[in-house]
């Protein structure tokens, strides 16, 4: 008897507890987070009107389903296509149009490492809520960024699904690449404004990490370069003689032909064997979810036999 009563009571209390949140008005809990500059950022609830100041931020927002909450973007945010129709708030020459940002009445401005502390301060002084997202240096940090932005925008569930699928895709690449014993040496060209001394990516960059993860050896590690973005001469490239050249600057018009016609470059093995590949640099230089696309495409380039 008494046991039945207790059970009934427990059931009753549980029902009440379950009803309580639904019964009161849906008051979103305040969000308190520390941003990449060590600033305390407080939001009354998930952001509804967001201005993104960097392409990576825009890609993150759209990837976790917060695209409809974005009301403004920087000039370089060109992905996904839906972002293109949003009002532009500047970004060229490193400057932003503060008047335009105020006019959009955002409840969150999502800044990135391309923004200066002065810009964050200026926005803050205008009474805007600014969150500064630090660049990730590993996949795990990138997932953490996705989840941070998800908290700010109330998209935790979507972000969780996304992170799990990204993890699975990275794991799939790892499973194909890790057993391999052969790792080609890769020269990743970022910029050849001066074709005799192009820029490449060195240790500490995501490009370096992705090359390794895709089953390659970055040219810079064999050349003994420690700079993150070194400018290298033909001599250094010739000494290491990479097997594969990836043209991250192909969107600026550099092609396998134009590289091969640089004086002296025809002595490289990669040039003789035609192992020069154009590549979408946005996949490896924007610290967002498309880094996983970049990893998959690089792995396909370096080990095509594994993906047949």
């Amino acid at each position: 008897m008494s046991r039945k009563l207790i059970l009934a009571l427990v059931a009753f209390v549980l029902t009440l507890a379950a009803c309580a949140p639904a019964a009161s008005a849906p008051q979103p809990a305040a969000i308190n987070l520390t941003d990449g500059l060590g600033r305390e950022v407080t939001l009354g609830g998930p952001a509804r009107r967001i201005v993104s100041l960097a392409p990576s931020n825009t890609e993150i927002l759209f990837a976790i389903g917060a695209g409809p909450q974005v009301v403004g973007r920087d000039e370089f945010s060109d992905y996904p296509a839906e972002a293109a129709s949003l009002p532009v708030v500047g970004g060229s020459f490193g400057g932003y149009n503060l008047e335009q940002i105020v006019e959009l009445e955002p409840d969150l401005v999502l800044a990135a490492e391309i923004n200066t502390p002065e810009q964050v301060k200026s926005l803050e002084d205008l009474g805007l809520t600014v969150y500064y997202l630090k660049n990730p240096t590993t996949f795990e940090e990138m997932y953490a960024n996705l989840q941070l932005v998800a908290v700010l925008t109330g998209r935790e569930a979507e972000a969780q699904v996304l992170v799990e699928s990204l993890r699975a895709r990275v794991k799939a690449v790892d499973e194909k690449i890790l057993p391999l014993s052969y790792a080609p040496v890769v020269f990743y060209e970022i910029d050849a404004t001066n074709p005799n001394k192009p820029y490449t990516a060195g240790p500490g960059t995501f490009i370096d990490l992705l090359i390794g993860r895709a089953g390659g050896v970055n040219f810079t590690s064999l050349a003994g370069i420690t700079d993150p973005y070194p400018q290298v001469g033909l001599e250094q490239v010739l000494v290491v003689d990479p097997q594969i050249i990836v043209l991250g600057d192909s969107m600026w018009g550099v092609t396998a032909e134009s590289l091969s016609s640089r004086p002296g470059w025809d002595g490289l093995t990669a040039v003789k064997e035609g192992s020069i590949f154009p590549f979408d640099d946005n996949l490896v230089s924007r610290p967002g979810p498309r880094l996983v696309d970049g990893l998959e495409q690089l792995a396909r380039l370096l080990h095509p036999e594994q993906f047949e």
Binding site: G90, F93, G94, Q100, V102, E103, E118, L126, Y229
Partner: protein
Amino acid sequence: MPLPNPMRRLSPFTLSAFFLLLAAVLSIAVGSVFIAPGDVLRVIVGALAGSIPPELEKHALIVLSLRLPRTVLMALTGAALGSSGAAYQGLFRNPLADPYLIGVASGAGLGAVIAMSIQWPYSFWGLMAVPFSAFLAAMLTVFSVYLLARVGRTVPTTNLILAGVAFSSFATALTSYLMLRSTGEVRRALGWIMGGSTQAGWDAVLGILPYLVIGVGVLVFSGHALNLLQFGNEQAQQLGLPVSRAKTVILVAASLSTAAAVAFSGIIGFVGLIVPHILRMWWGADYRRLLALSLLGGATFLLVADVLSRIVIAPQELPVGIVTALAGAPFFLWVLKRAKNQGYW
């Protein structure tokens, strides 16, 4: 004289003040967000009366926290560059002199880039690190150039110019090296070097105001000394001017105001070079007038350039340093071509 007839009858000061006022109004009224002139007026009247109509709150933010401080900062910067330019040209008796001649800009640039290469904590002092370091490096550069150029108790102007140019090249080379070596800060440094206000709000205005008041204040009253210096050092000395001291005072005052202006606004070229020349062509080379007129003219010129920088490729903004040279050079050549008074220098 290229000035239209009726303008010639007005005093140069009335005319300059009028144009400065016009430029300031333009700078407050024009922006990438359109605000009706009536609303701008209501915001300003409301702010003065202490109550802003609630429907204008957003526009009040734009006018009072963005446009007004920017207008004041640009006017102060232009005033500093204009008057320092006139003073340097008089001091060196050289039409090519500008406020950056003896290393203020290259020193400030080096200081700024050094400060940018360090990760400062996000705090008041962390944010002040760049302008402070730029200001300090600019003053140190001028001081070193002064010491290097000194021969006994005199400072020959030729030595000053040569030491300044050599020191500038050295500092610029170091700046370029640091920019190439740095990873993420090139955009920031480049933006600073091309000129334009980097930090919105009143902090920058308050930061440079004391130096400008002292520096420009001294310059405005050194017209008589500069007039005497035009006769050459010996004659000026015979006319009763303590030449060495006067030169040092003018040099310090001009450098102080230029360094303060550069620290917050970046390196804005051409203002300090052409504004004094244009005014000299219009109203003569009497430094007692020219210094004050260059102050007003520099402020007006930079305000107009800044307005242009906002509207040319709106909603993007051009760095104002590009506009001053791009729009300023043709304007200067036009004035030069039309000036009947070719022996003005």
